[in-house]
Every structure is written in structure tokens, then in C-alpha cells.
């Protein structure tokens, strides 16, 4: 009976999030426009400027568009994770978060359900993006489209957990602009999303180290390898570890007796 309660609640939270996403057409379109602009404009412009050597998982020379596609998938999930945290701050300010927090289920479970719901939305966005990219001649082996699913789930959970953690620190909606400047942009640009590690190393050893240990890089590599039917164990372990750390910290952040809620004086 108890298990059924958990199942129904989780499904209710996921359904609500998916429904909201599908019915908010502007959000759906803008979530797609961002990576598509990068793919059609930025990548096309840089195609000539950036020469890429053959690096795993690629077995031949590739176009720059092909290289950044996994990075843009990561970008979709990064923005979605942050958008989910933005909606948590909004929900907290508007009060609807309270309805979730006063239901008789453990808080960690509610947060995990929220996270799964957000990840579900990002996976949906990624597949639509991949479908458009396929028509643009960026095509991975068909098995890659299946292998990428578990990778997307893990990377989505990791980035969502980071968003959740940030949302437990953010007091007001206005403070969210800081997240853009201090989290999203550094995380995205200091990663392997746009350029491979060896290329970064040529310019700066420090940047190379930062990019290497950036959890977003590892998530992108996990996606990149999965899309070509390959398994990157290092990226998997690193992403899994990052998820565990972010999630544990977020749960503490939302715990009324330990977390940030007490200091903020708001829920």
C-alpha cells in the first residue's frame, strides 16, 4: 500500500511537469531554438576555423557540427536543470512548493521525483533536437539513439540535482541571474562541449584541468560515447559521483532541521 502511494505520487509529479512543458509552447520552442542556433549558426561559422583530429569515440574526421552535437545535448540538459531550479524558486515564492512539502512523503523522495520529472522533460527535448539534427545530416548509428537514453537520464539527473542544490541557496527569483553568469556560462564554456580537451590544453593548462574536472564535461563525454554506441566508464563514474554529491547536498539544503530553509526564513 505504501509503495503504491509512492508510485502514485511520483507519477503525479512527473505527469504535472510533462503536461506543463507540453502545454507551454513558448518554453518548448525556446528550449529547442537555443541549441539549434548553436548548431546551424555557430557551428557552421566555426567549421572552417576549427580543425579536429580523430579522437574517440569518432573513428574518422568529423565536421564541427558533429562534434558539438553531444555538447549541445548537454546544453539542453544544463539549461533544463537550471530552469527546473528556477521553477523551484518560483514555486517557493508563489507557494505551490508548500503543497508538495506538506504532503505525507519523505522530502528526499519528493525532491527525487521532482528531479526525475525535470529529467523526463529534458530527455524529451533532446530527442526532438536529435530528430531535427538527423535531417541536418548529423546522424549517429541507430543503436546510439537507444544507448544515449540511460546516459541522458544520468546526466539529466546530475545537472538537475545541481539546479536543485542551487535552488535551496537562492533566496529570491531575482538572484537567479547570478546563476546564469556564475554557473551556466562557466560550466558550459569550460567543458568539452565546444572543443576537445587536447585543444584546450594547447591554450592553457589551467583551463584544461578545470575542463577535465568539470562534471558537465564528463556528462557530455558520457553522452558523446553513448551516442556512438560506446561506453565511457570514467565519465559514468564521475557523473554518478557528481549526482550523488549534488543530490545529498540538495536534500540537506531542503531539510527543515539542517538546511538553508531555516536561514532563509522561507520554504
Amino acid at each position: 500500500m505504501k509503495l503504491l502511494h509512492y508510485w502514485r505520487a511520483m507519477w503525479g509529479i512527473i505527469w504535472r511537469e510533462l503536461w506543463r512543458f507540453v502545454t507551454q509552447r513558448e518554453r518548448f520552442i525556446s528550449a529547442l531554438v537555443r541549441p539549434l542556433v548553436w548548431l546551424f549558426v555557430f557551428a557552421a561559422g566555426f567549421r572552417a576555423a576549427l580543425g579536429l583530429a580523430i579522437t574517440p569515440p569518432y573513428e574518422t574526421y568529423i565536421l564541427y557540427e558533429v562534434y558539438i552535437t553531444p555538447g549541445l545535448i548537454g546544453m539542453i540538459q544544463l539549461f533544463n536543470g537550471m530552469q527546473s531550479s528556477l521553477s523551484m524558486v518560483y514555486d517557493r515564492e508563489m507557494g505551490s512548493m508548500r503543497i508538495l512539502m506538506v504532503c505525507p512523503l519523505p522530502r528526499w523522495f519528493l525532491l527525487l521525483s521532482k528531479l526525475l520529472a525535470g529529467t523526463g522533460v529534458s530527455v524529451l527535448q533532446v530527442y526532438v533536437f536529435l530528430a531535427i539534427a538527423w535531417f541536418y545530416d548529423i546522424q549517429a548509428p541507430w543503436q546510439g539513439y537507444l544507448w544515449i537514453m540511460p546516459a541522458l537520464l544520468l546526466s539529466g539527473l546530475m545537472l538537475g540535482a545541481l539546479g536543485l542544490l542551487l535552488s535551496s541557496f537562492i533566496k529570491q527569483l531575482e538572484n537567479f541571474a547570478g546563476v546564469m553568469n556564475f554557473v551556466i556560462f562557466p560550466m558550459f564554456f569550460m567543458s568539452t562541449a565546444l572543443y576537445p580537451l587536447w585543444k584546450i590544453k594547447e591554450s592553457s593548462a589551467l583551463l584544461h584541468n578545470l575542463a577535465q574536472y568539470n562534471p558537465f564535461s564528463q556528462a557530455v563525454e558520457l553522452i558523446r560515447f553513448a551516442l556512438y554506441g560506446q561506453f565511457n566508464s570514467q565519465a559514468l563514474i564521475y557523473t554518478l559521483l557528481a549526482f550523488s554529491v549534488f543530490m545529498a547536498a540538495a536534500i540537506i539544503g531542503y531539510n527543515p532541521s539542517k538546511g538553508m530553509m531555516m536561514r532563509k526564513g522561507g520554504a
Binding site: H5, W15, R20, S96, V102, P104, P256, S257, A267
Partner: protein
């Protein structure tokens, strides 16, 4: 565990970074009782509600809902609680039905039971015909009705309402006040109603006057009038809060 007490608050204190928001608050509410928590803005009403709903941690004192300690038996205690918050907590882009279904899923209800409970609660408030309308299309009074219906779906024993009539027109306000009083009597529900509007108090109500985080009076309306030696609740309130208007 005393089952004749629906909500018990014992020696409850709470501070925000050293500033006392509640100080040694004590009161009990029985099933079927409608208790109005009266206090000016900043009296500590919302803090008290945040503690009862476990949004804040209880560090000093104890809160029990139907005998379950909110800190140690959180989930059992929360299952007994229905809440209407001061701000609207409905999702504007979802229909009435979708909002209520979300709530029933959070409380683990199956489809059939959920449908039945939603129908019962909405019919009581004459809102069943509007169940497929988006919340955004409803006026303030109807949104509040939906929130009250939602708070009752899982059949709680204690209903908390945090200034639910703020911003409503007079007819909507009167109908909600009347409905909640009827609920307490007919459903044997313990109601704690935070307000700063004196005309929402019925003569049979219990009254708790909270001022600067302290309980200044606790009893029936008659008791409070006797203690303060005043003819009206308004005067009593004025005396207890030393000139601060409600």
C-alpha cells in the same frame, strides 16, 4: 497520546537569527472546534503555520497532530493535516480537476477514490460543473473554494487556513467563513483559522490572540471578553495588542 486533542502546541518558541518570532506558545484544539488565531501583521501567525506544517523545524517546544509528533512522526502527522495557504498555491495553467488530481496523487489515492472525493468536495462548494476550467479563468473567491476543496480531499482531521479571505470581496468572504464554520461542526474537523479580520469570528469560536510572538489570550470569545473586561472582540483585541489595530 490524547485522541480528543486534534492539534496540540506546547511551549513553542522560534527565532529568526536571534530575533524571537514566537515565545512559549501553548494551545490545544479539539475536533469540531473552530479556533481563530487573531493577530496583527508580524504577530507570528505565518511562522506558527510554517512550524505546524513542518516547513520550519521545531527546535523549542512540541507540536502534535492527532497525537503524532510533527518532528518525530512527520509523515503520520502531515497525513492528518489539510492546509490553505495565504497565497494561492494552485497551478494557474492546469484545470481545477488537474490541480485536484495532483493533490490526490500526492496523497496516494487511486483513480476511483480520487474521482469520488473530488466530486464530493466540489459539489459541496457548487464547483463541480467548473471542474474542467483552467484555474486562471476563475475569480479569487472560486479559487479559494477550490483550495479549500483540495485541502479536504484526503479527509484531514485538522484544517489550517492562513488568512484565506484576504483580497476577496464581501460575499465571497462571508460564504467561505460560513462554509468553514459549517465544516467544523458537521465534519467534526478541528479548524485553525489565522486572520486579522475581526468580523470573521463567530460567537461560538475559540479565540487565540497572538501578539509579538506571544499568546495574549486563549479561550472562547466570552472568556476573552471577560478577561479583558471589554464589550466587543474589537475592544478586547485593541486592549491585548495595546493600541495596534487589527
Amino acid at each position: 497520546m490524547n485522541s480528543s486533542i486534534a492539534l496540540s502546541v506546547e511551549d513553542l518558541s522560534f527565532s529568526y537569527s536571534g530575533k524571537k518570532a514566537l515565545s512559549h506558545v501553548n494551545f490545544k484544539i479539539k475536533p469540531g472546534e473552530c479556533t481563530v488565531l487573531l493577530g496583527p501583521n508580524g504577530a507570528g501567525k505565518s511562522t506558527l503555520f510554517s512550524l505546524i506544517t513542518r516547513l520550519y523545524d521545531t527546535r523549542e517546544g512540541r507540536i502534535e497532530l492527532c497525537g503524532f509528533d510533527i518532528k518525530r512522526q512527520t509523515l503520520l502527522a502531515l497525513a492528518k493535516l489539510g492546509v490553505v495557504f495565504q497565497q494561492t498555491t494552485l497551478d494557474m495553467d492546469l484545470s481545477v480537476m488537474q490541480n485536484l488530481r495532483y493533490h490526490t496523487s500526492l496523497h496516494g489515492m487511486g483513480c476511483k477514490q480520487a474521482e469520488q472525493r473530488i466530486r464530493e468536495e466540489l459539489e459541496r462548494l457548487n464547483m463541480y460543473d467548473r471542474r474542467f476550467e483552467k484555474v486562471r479563468q476563475l475569480n479569487g473567491g472560486h479559487r479559494r473554494r477550490v483550495e479549500i476543496a483540495r485541502a479536504l480531499l484526503h479527509k484531514p482531521s485538522v484544517l489550517l487556513l492562513d488568512e484565506p479571505t484576504v483580497g476577496l470581496d464581501v460575499p465571497s468572504r462571508l460564504s467561505i467563513v460560513e462554509y468553514v464554520h459549517r465544516l467544523a461542526a458537521e465534519e467534526h474537523l478541528a479548524v485553525l483559522w489565522a486572520s486579522h479580520l475581526i468580523d470573521e469570528i463567530y460567537p461560538d469560536d475559540h479565540l487565540i490572540v497572538l501578539h509579538k510572538g506571544q499568546v495574549k489570550a486563549n479561550g472562547t470569545v466570552d472568556d476573552v471578553l471577560k478577561i479583558t473586561n471589554t464589550p466587543t472582540v474589537k475592544d478586547a483585541f485593541y486592549t491585548l495588542t495595546q493600541g495596534e489595530t487589527a
